[in-house]
């Protein structure tokens, strides 16, 4: 199970490249990052395929922002967005792929 998470993490970090902002981040940056993550998670919800980890990362982002730790808040929001995007990818590809598992 740990290995699964590890593989997933590398995927997530691939998708969230660019979140390593050097300068201290602002509230505006956080809002943008959070809005993007929230939109992606909303789409995953429309596809009925949200992930618990995404929800947790969104909550973490919000909490960090409440504590005015925007570096952490942005990194959590980016992670949430990346996770949501993988879940969207999963739901979209499964629209056809589920047939492979069917017993015939």
């Amino acid at each position: 199970m740990r290995n699964v998470s590890k593989a997933l993490w590398s995927l997530v970090s691939l998708l969230s490249i660019g979140n390593a902002a050097l300068a201290a981040s602002s509230e505006a940056d956080f809002r943008a990052a959070y809005a993007a993550a929230d939109a992606a998670e909303h789409e995953a919800g429309r596809l009925r395929n949200q992930w618990i980890a995404t929800e947790a990362a969104l909550a973490e982002a919000k909490k960090a922002a409440d504590n005015r730790d925007f570096d952490r808040a942005i990194s959590a929001a980016k992670e949430a967005e990346a996770l949501a995007k993988v879940s969207i990818f999963q739901a979209t590809s499964e629209k056809a792929a589920w047939k492979h598992l069917e017993i015939h």
Binding site: A7, Q50, Q90, A96, A97, W98, H100, I103
Partner: protein, 280 residues
């Protein structure tokens, strides 16, 4: 690890793949193939015994189960269910008035396709519809009372074979097909479908537990799980299954779960109701 890599590869490959136009939906053929798959996979298991889930597949577990069945831990819930079922609503009517045969020995006929609403009506849903029709508030689909009520109704149907009907109505066939799709669709961070555990790997241990075969899996519902320490409904089981693959569960009795129950019950037609059951 290997599993996940393969999964990623499948995910990647499947982008290119597109299923052709919707083939004809043929539940009867599906159900035959479904049953044959399990019978071939477990040639030593009697067909009816699939209704006993993992206990049909593992001798050590079966002994523990048989010991527990001498005085099953769900006994208290079953009694509560009988009591709740017999208690009249404020208007003097009771659950019995909402069901054919006064609700006794009919569990094997649920879920049903309701031609009026065009939707699947599960037993849990029917119980709440009954309450609402009689001016009572709906009760939680994942709570103890619903578990107790369905336990009692299942108990009165023990041994009766599942008899799920798919009427000649395109909406009914679609509901069945949607349930099937939900069953085989990978979801959650673990990228598991229901079938990953309950078709591909029944009898295997996933961490602690021996996975139950999908064939007959709802016949034992509701179940007293030692892990829960109490009785839980089908709704509760679906929700925990989705959480276990790290997906956000859908609402209890959402269309997807209702259709899933329709599919899973239909493919187990002919197998006896064994609920209420007990499981690890």
């Amino acid at each position: 690890m290997r599993f996940w890599l393969i999964t990623l590869a499948v995910l990647a490959l499947s982008i290119a793949h597109r299923a052709g136009a919707a083939e004809g939906i043929d539940p009867a053929t599906d159900a035959r193939a479904f049953r044959e798959y399990f019978v071939r996979k477990f040639p030593n298991v009697k067909l009816d015994d699939f209704a006993n889930g993992p206990y049909a597949l593992n001798e050590d577990m079966r002994r523990q189960w048989e010991e527990k069945e001498q005085f099953p831990p769900y006994e208290f819930s079953l009694e509560t269910g009988k009591e709740l079922f017999g208690t009249p609503f404020a208007n003097g009517k009771s659950y019995a008035d909402c069901f054919p045969e006064q609700g006794i020995g009919i569990r094997q006929n649920y879920p049903q396709f309701d031609e009026k609403s065009g939707k699947v009506i599960t037993l849990e849903l029917a119980l709440n519809l009954c309450r609402e029709a009689n001016g009572e508030k709906a009760i939680s689909y994942t709570g103890d009372d619903m578990a107790a009520l369905t336990a009692y109704m299942a108990f009165t149907s023990r041994g009766k074979p599942f008899d799920i009907k798919i009427p000649d109505d395109p909406r009914a066939r679609e509901a069945y097909e949607d349930g099937k799709r939900y069953f085989y669709t990978r979801r959650g961070q673990l990228n598991f479908s229901c079938a990953t555990c309950h078709v591909q790997n029944p009898g295997e241990r996933l961490r602690a537990e021996v996975l139950a075969p999908a064939l007959g899996i709802l016949n034992a519902m509701p179940i007293y799980r030692s892990e829960w320490g109490n009785m839980g409904t089908i709704s509760r089981r679906f929700i925990t299954c989705n959480s276990q693959v790290r997906g956000v569960p859908l609402e209890a009795q959402s269309d997807e779960y209702r259709d899933l129950e329709y599919f899973l019950s239909y493919v187990s037609n002919g197998l006896p109701i064994s609920g209420p059951g007990s499981r690890p």
